[in-house]
């Protein structure tokens, strides 16, 4: 297993290098780093010339790439106009997003597994039909609209009762830090509930469908009958023999998803002004800074590669038939 992980990590390196090339080439193809700056009236010719020199914009793209890649993970990876280092902000954003998706994924997986298992055990029951229908809504309600409705509801409640249950905006309240760690924690949670609900809602629908399908398949398996014939309790049969097998696809999917989510919470973070990766990307794209976007893409690519690696590890860990050596 250890050698497998090591080999997978080593194999990921060329994949990562190729994706940085594609990211750089793609971005320079579709987005001239200077085009947005040229439109700004207060940017002088001299400033632009400085940027051209600094980023080697007169050279062909592959030369530019080498200069860019050399400095990618250093202080010298900066924005075009302000020459500000990109990493500090990006790191902070990544940390904030991880908080959000870690919690929402835990909630989504546990809820979805429970829902999926229950609907599979009671296939065609009212409960099953209800969760199926609700999950169809989950697939059909746009996330951004769902988030807006949550916001409207909570704000409406606040305006109506004057009671602030959750915050609809940002990460923490102004000057909360002075009121002790307990207040900070509560305040943070109040800010997190809505974005987490939004993110979890998206995944619960998918995961629970997955879980239901794999649980149904497993419950029809011969080894479940064997387990029953042994005289085991129904609980042991479904929860030990069934669930252990039925979890494999969902856990694998969730692991893959984890990487994608790091870069994928754009809508949620933008609407709730959560200062994470998604918001960071949205702002970078709105300002049109190619270097910020490229750095962001590299981080996301790494996250996705790690997510796929995690999926492989989880798969090998859960399913003894998979042997990595």
């Amino acid at each position: 297993m250890a050698t497998f992980i090591l080999r997978r990590i080593l194999l990921s390196i060329p994949v990562l290098i190729i994706s940085t090339v594609i990211i750089f080439w793609g971005m320079t193809e579709i987005a001239d780093p200077l085009s947005s700056l040229r439109l700004l009236p207060n940017v002088s010719q001299q400033t632009i010339q400085n940027i051209v020199d600094r980023k080697h914009l007169d050279d062909p793209w592959y030369v530019q790439y080498v200069f860019w890649a050399k400095d990618l993970f250093t202080e010298r990876n900066t924005t075009a106009l302000g020459n500000n280092p990109i990493w500090p902000d990006l790191k902070r954003a990544a940390g904030n997003t991880v908080q959000l998706i870690a919690i929402s994924e835990v909630i989504a997986i546990t809820t979805a597994v429970w829902l999926g298992v229950q609907s599979a055990k009671k296939q065609y029951s009212v409960f099953d039909y209800t969760t199926t229908t609700v999950s169809f809504f989950g697939f059909s309600v746009p996330i951004f609209w769902f988030a807006l409705m949550l916001q409207a509801l909570v704000t409406g409640l606040f305006l109506w009762t004057g009671f602030r249950l959750f915050y609809t905006f940002g990460q923490s309240s102004f000057d909360i830090a002075s009121q002790g760690w307990w207040a900070v924690l509560i305040d943070r949670l109040q800010h997190m509930v809505l974005p987490i609900t939004t993110l979890a809602y998206v995944n619960i629908a998918t995961y629970s469908r997955f879980q239901r399908a794999s649980m149904l398949e497993v419950l029809n398996a011969d080894y479940i009958r064997t387990a029953r014939a042994k005289g085991l309790s129904e609980r042991t049969v479904t929860m030990k023999h069934g669930l252990r097998n039925a979890l494999i696809p969902v856990v694998t999917l969730a692991a893959i998803n984890f990487g994608g989510l790091l870069g994928g919470a754009v809508i949620t973070e933008t609407i709730f002004a959560w200062p994470g990766m998604g918001k960071f990307f949205f702002d970078a794209l709105s300002q049109g800074d190619a270097y910020t976007i490229m750095s962001w893409l590299v981080v996301t690519a790494i996250a996705i590669i790690i997510g796929n690696l995690l999926a492989d590890i989880a798969y090998g860990w859960l399913d003894p038939r998979i042997r990595y050596d």
């Binding site: 994706s19 594609i22 971005m27 579709i30 987005a31 169809f136 809504f137 989950g138 697939f139 059909s140 309600v141 746009p142 996330i143 951004f144 609209w145 807006l148 409705m149 916001q151 409207a152 704000t155 409406g156 305006l159 993110l199 998206v202 995944n203 629908a205 998918t206 469908r209 997955f210 399908a213 794999s214 149904l216 398949e217 029809n220 696809p249 999917l253 893959i256 998803n257 994608g260 989510l261 870069g263 994928g264 919470a265 754009v266 809508i267 949620t268 933008t270 990307f281 949205f282 794209l285 709105s286 976007i293 962001w296 893409l297 996301t300 690519a301 996705i304 590669i305 997510g307 796929n308």
Partner: protein
């Protein structure tokens, strides 16, 4: 199952698991170990495949209801010019900020410069539907071609094409769309549609490839090959018709996904922009007045939900109807 935006695209490949589940006890019935005798098999009174499919589809009440509702929505948006009580973009200050009301036909209310939101929603729906169907056709075309070539010819072509497809699956879906739409889409519906299709074809390519790979080995295809049929003939006469079910279901669900994703893009300001009407943009216009003029965000949103829900139910009904393992009730 449709894919939502903030999800990693590989989540879309879930039908494998579900399909395996439909294998019911009925299979045990067909099993014959003695194998001395041929079994009568399933007595389907010589219905053609399509008649059978249609009959099964029309037994799916939710799907049929959805189809009717969807047709109503589509037709009324296509005839927006005739049906809308007001033009899309005409301000009417005296009527500003009206809550939904039956007087003067402001069913969905008006915004703060008096534009009628029912009319705006109708026009917006039309754009969304146009774009979604365009995306579905385009991505289905690409997917069938790429997946078909990979599956039919196999070997290195397959390998190459599938690695390219894999590459698309490792992209952060929505951000890449946003980048492309931002720098290339320019708020134009057709360009935005092309951008969406560019990322949407991969799921279908994989499905089609799988179908082609397995159908390629079937006896009748082998027989046709032995008889010297051309590749094109084999593909269009023998393989494609059998893969059609999977393609249709996927194309249907793609319409729903496209509507949702296009709305999200337009909402974020990277999709369809004025002067073109779009539902996502309407909602983002209403975002600032969520509590005071709730109707601005609610009605266009509900329209999206209704369309997507209908399509998902139709897709579900189609999947059941096209599944040879499920029989007529």
């Amino acid at each position: 199952m449709t894919d939502q935006v903030e999800r990693f695209p590989s989540a879309r490949a879930d039908s494998d698991v579900e399909e395996a589940v439909t294998q019911s006890a009925l299979d045990t019935m067909a099993r014959d170990d003695l194998d001395v005798l041929e079994r009568e098999g399933l007595e389907i009174e010589s219905l053609t495949q399509w008649q059978l499919t249609r009959r099964k589809f029309f037994q799916h009440k939710l799907a049929v209801g959805s189809l009717i509702l969807l047709l109503i929505i589509i037709l009324s948006s296509l005839f927006a010019e005739q049906l809308a009580p007001y033009p899309f973009d005409a301000p009417n200050v005296p009527d500003r900020s009206l809550a939904p009301t039956l007087t003067d036909n402001h069913f969905f209310g008006t915004d703060k410069i008096g534009r009628d939101y029912f009319s705006r929603t109708l026009y917006g729906t039309r754009t969304s539907i146009y774009v979604a169907f365009f995306v579905s056709f385009l991505s289905t075309g690409i997917g069938v071609i790429v997946g078909g070539i990979a599956g039919y010819y196999g070997k290195w072509i397959d390998n190459l094409l599938m690695r390219v497809t894999d590459l698309f699956f490792t992209l952060p879906f929505l951000p890449v769309l946003m980048i492309l739409a931002n720098f290339w889409g320019r708020g134009n519906p057709i360009r935005v549609g092309i951008v969406l299709a560019f990322l949407f074809w991969t799921t279908l390519a994989r499905i089609v490839r799988g179908e082609f790979l397995s159908l390629r080995e079937k006896e009748y295809v082998e027989a046709a090959k032995a008889l010297g049929a051309s590749d094109a003939r084999i593909i269009f006469r023998h393989i494609l018709p059998n893969a059609l079910g999977a393609i249709i279901v996927n194309a249907t669900l793609t319409v729903a996904t496209a509507i949702l994703v296009e709305a999200a893009l337009s909402f974020l300001g990277f999709g369809i922009q004025p002067p073109f009407p779009a539902l996502g943009k309407l909602i983002s216009d209403g975002q600032d007045a969520l509590t005071t003029q709730w109707w601005l965000a609610v009605f266009p949103g509900l329209t999206i939900v209704a369309i997507a829900l209908c399509i998902n139910f139709i897709g579900d009904g189609l999947r059941d109807a096209l599944d040879p393992k499920q029989r007529v009730k």
